[in-house]
């Protein structure tokens, strides 16, 4: 057990690419926590997708032993928080487990929208905040301007900001000293009954569910019988360890310490982030307040391209769900696509991550239906329905009105792109709430319908601002609007996977764009194919795919028979990558690409 005065717990707040993972790597390296030969870039991002996309999805933790200049050795616990807007709720939870934050800002870029969102969460959690300016070795670094920006936009003192280059190692020792001297030590009472916070949990193929905890009061030891106060479940502590970042067994963890335990817990769903862990025999009287579980806000159907792979998909989804309690799923049947799953996600990135993992790690080709948000349908009889799937839209004669979720979006953007950003938000039915300047950057705040954001808002924002804008959002509630269900008919048959809820004023433009896209995405067939967008029985847009006119092998003689037969076999396999709707084969990628908007 480490003395409280020798413990510092902290997280790092940063925008994507501002150097959070590199700084974490440097801290780990400089303190010799990981042997040089075991170092790899972005130590804490363990999933391939995290490394590839340079983002953190799951919270992670590392315990660093640091012999400070004052002669004392300190235990520094870093909790690495997810860095993307979809996982903002997880950020706020993990921040409750630590006392301070390093605010890392790229000195060449300045404060970004996500920095802002996360630093406010750190302030909410009463963190002591140490500003760190990264990338000061680059010629484009504007140290003074960025310091001024931190003070103007965030409102914290930046005069003591530490100037570093995580890449070259400049300033890293100062960061370690600042953690020790500027962040507060944790408080707690080792004699009190055990009270620990469940910070996160994940599934490990060998150990079962691994639970990350922060001890508040008391001491937890290997072999203890512990109780989860919310769920009431009791487990034996089979393994107690700290993360360096690999597991190193430890006898006990006292107040202020962070570590993991395992206890034959079957799935992540059996654990609640924020739950209080105490001893079965001598429980604490005051549980921690706990957190609401994260709620999925974006829904879509996932169907196997090859219907025969449904069972494989089920297995894969169940395995992924073991490790991700924020992802929901239930079986869905579509007239055209057969069996699949309706899945709920924290946001679009979360959706993409899950889809990527299913396709890559489990090798299943998927059709993703149009993403949808949750609409509240108020019926004439006074009842209310939550609509997750446009296919379930009730008969309009029974509907009184529909409400849709709205978000507050904060966008930081260099001046020169402001006009494009305002136009984009305006086009997506946004209401401007605020527009302020910080240096040459504008901060715009918009009230936007979530359904306008889930398709490709982020992609469009990146493209109109050449990647210079940053974006963050939070749900702010529901509002009534004129929403209609738009169906897409291919060869006179509705394709339920492409139907969507859309604002009436936007329906025609949206429908026209979908029809134009599908015209290019669906290959020619032997007959002409009408593509229509319709609201109820009324067609609002129409395109036609011309019939195929020429596709025949010029030469086919005795010597060609075997080869041409193989070609037919190959074409048959290619057809399996498509789904048949009536007589029309639609390629897998058409489902996603048809939804992308050009403006």
């Amino acid at each position: 057990m480490t003395e409280l005065k020798n413990i510092r717990n902290f997280s790092i707040v940063a925008h994507i690419d501002h150097g959070k993972s590199t700084l974490a790597d440097r801290l780990i390296q400089l303190t010799g926590t990981v042997a040089e030969r075991d170092m790899k870039a972005q130590m804490l991002d363990s999933m391939d997708i995290e490394r590839e996309r340079g983002i953190t999805i799951k919270a992670n933790s590392v315990r660093i032993e640091y012999p400070a200049r004052d002669g004392e050795t300190y235990i520094l616990n870093l909790i690495d928080t997810p860095g993307h807007v979809d996982f903002g709720y997880e950020v706020s939870r993990s921040m409750r487990a630590v006392e301070g934050s390093l605010l890392v800002v790229d000195a060449t870029q300045g404060v970004e929208a996500q920095t802002l969102a996360n630093v406010y969460q750190a302030i909410d959690a009463d963190h002591e905040i140490v500003p760190v300016l990264n990338k000061i070795d680059l010629p484009a670094a504007e140290v003074d301007q960025v310091k001024a920006q931190i003070e103007d936009v965030i409102g914290i003192d930046a005069s003591q900001a530490i100037e570093i280059s995580a890449k070259t190692g400049i300033g890293i020792p100062d960061v370690l000293e600042a953690i020790v001297h500027r962040l507060p030590a944790p408080k707690g009472d080792s004699a009190a009954p055990l009270k620990a916070m469940l910070v996160d949990s994940w599934y490990d193929a060998y150990l079962g569910v691994v639970v990350l905890i922060r001890v508040m009061d008391g001491v937890i030891r290997k072999g203890d019988r512990i109780k989860m106060m919310k769920t009431g479940a009791v487990y034996g502590v089979d393994k107690l360890a700290v993360l360096k970042p690999q597991m190193v067994d430890i006898k006990e963890l006292g107040p202020g310490e962070i570590g993991i335990f395992t206890g034959s817990i079957k799935q992540v769903r059996d654990t609640r982030v924020g739950d209080t862990i105490t001893h079965e025999k001598k429980p604490t009287a005051n549980a921690l307040p706990g957190f609401k579980p994260a709620q999925p806000v974006v829904f879509c159907g996932l169907f196997p391209v090859d219907a025969a792979e449904f069972e494989d998909l089920r297995d894969a989804i169940e395995k992924l769900a073991l490790n991700d309690a924020s992802f929901s799923y239930e079986m869905e049947t579509s007239a055209a696509l057969g069996f699949g799953f309706r899945c709920g996600f924290l946001g679009l990135l979360h959706l993409e991550v899950i889809r990527d993992r299913l396709e890559r790690e489990y090798d299943i080709d998927l059709i993703t239906t149009a993403p949808s948000v949750i609409y509240k349908i108020h019926m004439r009889d006074g009842s209310e329905i939550e609509l997750h799937n446009p296919a379930d839209m009730p008969d309009l004669t029974h509907v009184d009105h529909i409400e849709e979720p709205r978000i507050k979006a904060t966008i930081l953007v260099p001046d020169e792109f402001l006009g494009d950003v305002l136009k984009l938000c305006q086009d997506r039915r946004g209401i401007q709430l605020d527009l302020t300047y910080a240096g040459s950057r504008a901060m715009v705040v918009y009230d936007l319908p979530l359904n306008e954001v889930v398709f490709d808002f982020y992609d469009r924002l990146k493209s109109v601002t050449k990647g210079y804008a940053s974006f963050d959002y939070q749900l702010i509630g529901y509002r009534e609007d004129v929403l209609v269900k738009m169906s897409i008919l291919v060869n006179e048959e509705p394709v339920d996977a492409l139907s969507m809820m859309v604002h009436r004023d936007r329906a025609e433009a949206r429908g026209r764009m979908m029809c134009e896209k599908l015209k290019d995405l669906i290959p020619r067939h032997m007959f002409k194919i009408p593509i229509q967008a319709a609201i109820g029985g009324r067609v609002i847009a129409r395109e036609t795919i011309a019939a195929m006119r020429k596709d025949v092998t010029a030469k086919c003689y005795g010597g060609d028979v075997t080869r041409k037969k193989k070609l037919l076999e190959k074409q048959k396999k290619g057809k399996k990558k498509m789904r048949e709707f009536g007589k029309v084969a639609i390629p897998q990628e058409a489902f996603i690409n048809a939804l992308k908007m050009d403006s």
Partner: protein, 388 residues
């Protein structure tokens, strides 16, 4: 059923694998060699004729086809020796057809009379284009003038003469092609093979195309326009298309190629030559080594040019029957097709394709319509799906 091949006939295909130069569009089994020992090749061909002859005793032979490569590089003596052995091996039918593929250079034209004397009664001349610039782009070694005089000579020497053209070439407009084709039909051949240029993997054109260095090829719609213009012009000139790329005065069709399209039996002799043979009530696909040296050596050392033969099951026979037969304007006999499949699924699919105007089932035959023939690959993919 076991004698089903009789509906197609019986022929011999002989492959001569050498060319003077490799054309950039050609993916056939052809090789350029510095010197060729024709007497060694003769011994191997004759040995193979003896071998396959003993397996098909008593059959009546309908056709022989010398293909390549460039068979017009064979010495007339070699052709004569082969045909002599063939006539000694099988009785020949009354309409016995012996075709030889020839290039229209002056050197090769000089051998025409020798081939005629050896027993060749039909030549198919690879003219390919009636425009010197395009001939060079296609890597051909003759000029239009040479081609015309070779053709005129062939018409005097042989009973039947056909020639090939390639269309949908780089930067060829529909108007260009119409003019060229009108010129071609005016040359009074009784048979024309008109091939749309196909870019094949593993050819010089294939490489260039992959690197984006083969511009000016027509897109689907202009290729379709050229194809339909081809049908219309030939039809009007009395040379209706009897197969996707082949046009003939009625009666002047290639009897040998009809054996392929009607799924008859054919023996493949020479490197890379494929065959189809019905034996002991089973149908087999036969194959030979592709490399000229390897084939020669195998024949000389093992006494057979064949590699493992493969039995063709009923569903595959049906696939072949449709794949080849639907290329013909006359299609295939429904009775022949129905003998070989689980009827319901195929009939359902046939009905579906009939409804959208791709197939026709009148007079107990299954035919692709004119529109259906133009998109036959798509039609066949559908049928294949229903069979397998």
């Amino acid at each position: 059923m076991t004698e089903d091949w009789r509906a197609g006939g019986f022929g011999v295909y002989l492959h001569w694998p050498f060319c003077q130069a490799k054309c950039p569009y050609c993916d056939f089994n052809s090789h350029v060699a510095a010197s060729i020992d024709q007497s060694r090749w003769q011994r191997a061909y004759l040995a193979e004729i003896d071998r396959v002859g003993s397996e098909t005793k008593g059959r009546i032979l309908d056709t022989v086809f010398f293909g390549g490569g460039t068979p017009s590089l064979m010495q007339p003596d070699l052709v004569a020796a082969i045909l002599e052995r063939i006539r000694a091996t099988w009785a020949t039918s009354n309409s016995f057809e012996v075709t030889l593929e020839a290039n229209p250079t002056s050197v090769e034209a000089d051998r025409f009379q020798g081939y005629r004397d050896a027993g060749v009664n039909r030549v198919s001349i690879g003219i390919q284009a009636l425009n010197d610039l395009d001939l060079r782009a296609l890597g051909r070694m003759h000029s239009v003038a040479e081609a015309r005089s070779a053709f005129a000579l062939a018409q005097k020497v042989f009973d039947r003469v056909s020639f090939d053209l390639i269309y949908a070439r780089q930067n060829q407009s529909l108007t260009d092609w119409r003019a060229e084709l009108r010129e071609a039909v005016s040359m009074a051949a009784d048979h024309l093979s008109l091939y749309q240029l196909t870019i094949e993997d593993g050819t010089a054109f294939g490489d260039r195309f992959a690197r984006g260095r083969l511009p000016g090829l027509p897109v689907e719609d202009s290729a379709a326009d050229m194809y339909f213009a081809t049908q219309e012009i030939c039809e009007a000139a009395g040379l209706p298309g009897y197969e996707i790329s082949n046009h003939a005065r009625p009666g002047a069709e290639s009897r040998h190629n009809l054996i392929y399209w009607n799924c008859g039996d054919y023996l493949g002799i020479g490197p890379g030559a494929h065959g189809r043979l019905t034996s002991g009530g089973q149908r087999y696909a036969t194959d030979t080594p592709r490399q000229p040296g390897a084939w020669l050596q195998q024949v000389e050392t093992t006494g057979t040019g064949e590699v493992a033969r493969e039995q063709i099951g009923a569903p595959d026979q049906l696939v072949e029957l449709l794949m080849m037969g639907l290329r013909l304007r006359d299609g295939v006999s429904l009775a022949r097709a129905q003998g070989r499949c689980e009827k319901d699924r195929l009939l359902l699919k046939i009905n579906e394709l009939h409804k959208i105007g791709m197939l026709d089932t009148s007079q107990n035959r299954l035919r692709a319509t004119e529109r259906g023939r133009a998109v036959l690959n798509a039609v066949l993919t559908e049928l294949y799906d229903a069979i397998t």
